[in-house]
């Protein structure tokens, strides 16, 4: 069980990069981009085929980023130049990518167990540092000796990577171009009147988002040891779940806060799923149903809460008014009583 929590942390940190991409389109650009289901696999496919053909892990992973960037830009062009609505642009690209991904891989599954990947390289370097035994001692001292992971390498490196991306993204969103992207999602006609080509901003935002998604897909393939044509199904919903859970738990006041929250949300999501699967009655195949239920809940509960708040406020106000009424009445009665005297 505790090891399940550790692997939730590991994979959560990798999926967090995908969730940051979803955050960029869904929250910043206000563009629900379904390309994600396809571009996640594109990242995995590109990296897998390159690794199998002997390219270095770094180059293979970098290529995944570029492929995702290209996929996102095509979605952006479909929407801005082709004037196709946002949802449909994403769906079309997602479907097109299914065939493209299959072409890239040449088959529906590429195992990577015998390849050297970013993950294996990091583990190798890490094992030379001897940090594992040090950290495990620490855990023993805390009385958690039996819940140590096989290695701390992945948690460490993924924490570093996702935080670097988080900081880079929030810094980028403060640059002049970044501000223009945010304003495009916030008030398009306003930013147009300040001489911004909003089409370009959308294309750029979608490209960066899908580059992150593909990067995440590439890392997941290397982490799991295979790339599979079906690994992206429902990815957009997982991304949304992470964003919504993160914002609900950790807050979204500023960009810096929200991006951190998204990472937290991705980890919490993995833990929730891991815990749910401990329940006897649920099966692995139920994960997508659970995810959909989480997102539906996260979307509906705030609405119900708002309504209740409004109701209780109204009730309070009504009581105040009634109080005033009785006070006035009382005062009048006193006054008439006095005049009667």
């Amino acid at each position: 069980m505790p090891t399940a929590i550790f692997s939730s942390f590991e994979s959560g940190l990798i999926y967090a990069i995908m969730a940051l991409g979803v955050y960029l389109t869904f929250r910043i650009l206000d563009f629900p981009d379904l390309t994600v289901d396809g571009s996640f696999v594109t990242g995995a496919a590109v990296t897998a085929i390159m690794l199998v053909n002997g390219y270095s892990p770094i180059i293979s992973t970098g290529a995944a980023l570029l492929a995702g960037f290209a996929a996102g830009s095509i979605t952006g062009l479909l929407h801005t130049k082709g004037k196709i609505n946002p949802l449909l642009s994403g769906i079309l690209m997602m479907i097109a990518l299914y065939s493209i991904n299959l072409r890239i891989m040449g088959k529906s599954n590429i195992p990577l167990f015998s390849e050297s990947t970013i993950i294996t390289s990091v583990k190798e370097i890490w094992s030379k540092t001897g940090l594992d035994s040090f950290l495990n001692k620490g855990m023993e001292l805390l009385g958690l000796g039996n819940s140590v992971p096989s290695t701390w390498a992945i948690i460490f490196i993924m924490l570093v990577i996702s935080l670097v991306i988080k900081f880079a993204l929030s810094l980028f969103l403060k640059t002049e171009i970044g501000l223009a992207i945010r304003a495009t999602g916030d008030n398009q006609s306003m930013v147009k009147s300040f001489s911004t080509n909003t089409d370009n901003m959308k294309v750029l935002g979608l490209s960066i988002s899908n580059a992150l998604v593909a990067f995440s897909g590439s890392l997941i393939a290397q982490y799991n040891g295979f790339s599979d044509i079906g690994m992206g199904i429902g990815m957009i919903v997982i991304g949304l779940a992470s964003v919504i859970i993160g914002e609900a738990i950790f807050g979204a006041k500023t960009i810096a806060r929200a991006t951190l929250a998204v990472i937290g949300g991705a980890i919490v999501y993995r833990i929730v799923v891991a815990l749910a699967l401990q329940v006897q009655f649920l099966q692995t195949g139920d994960v997508k149903l659970i995810t959909a239920a989480i997102v539906i809940g996260a979307l509906i509960i705030p609405q119900i809460k708002d309504k209740q708040k409004e109701k209780s406020m109204k009730r309070k106000r009504l009581k105040e008014l009634q109080m005033q009424q009785t006070l006035v009445k009382g005062a009048k009665e006193v006054a008439t009583a006095k005049s009667n005297l």
């Binding site: 403060k174 002049e176 916030d186 008030n187 009147s193 300040f194 001489s195 080509n197 909003t198």
Partner: protein, 264 residues
Amino acid sequence: MLQLNQIYKVFNQGTPDEKLALKSLELTLEKGEFVTVIGSNGAGKSTLMNMISGKLIPDAGSVIIDGKDVSSVDEYVRSKMIGRVFQDPMAGTAPHMTIEENLAIAYGRTNKRGLRLGVTKSRRSFYKEKLETLHLGLENRMNAKVGMLSGGERQALSLLMATFTNPKILLLDEHTAALDPSRADLITKLTKEIVSQNNLTTLMVTHNMQQALDLGTSLIMMDKGQIIFEARGEEKQKLTVEKLLHEFQRIKGEKMLNDRAVLI
């Protein structure tokens, strides 16, 4: 500075809702001229503003700004030269961004956007200095989200954002109409100050005749997609609401007679 030649614009062409919104419209603005625009609802005032800003492209005719024919230039390119404030106080700012971030967006109108930070120390003090000119205390709330501001504050900020980078042309479309009277007065006062201090070439639509007379160096009246009356310089200064109404009736009457003549 601005020249409109024989502008035509038809909406919903070829449908029962067809509407000739502008018809052989001619207008010239000198540099530094401040023109107020009046006219009944549906006269084509907003359409005229949209022709200049590039939000709409004329069906016929040309728009010339600072000697350049911009008739078919994209809105976002044209807006390098044009500052705009809309009627809706929500329209001119980004609500989920802070005051200083909004100013940074506005600053980018004339300065090419790059990967520099939008708000730096020196820029912040520049923005602050500009906000102080509004006398609303916004300079102390630069990190507040603009969505938290009142309508009047937002409109004042919109006005500042549209003007602090010295546009060649300033377009104001009933920008005080959605505000309560005291706030409308404030925005009118600020408009007067800003336009005269920066000597901005300005076109201001208003539904308030008195305001149209009090402000500006020239006045035009629109009706049914045409400019039916123009007054400049001294002639404008001598105008009163009564004269204006009288003028309107006279022109309308003449037109009606002409129309009837055509029918007969």
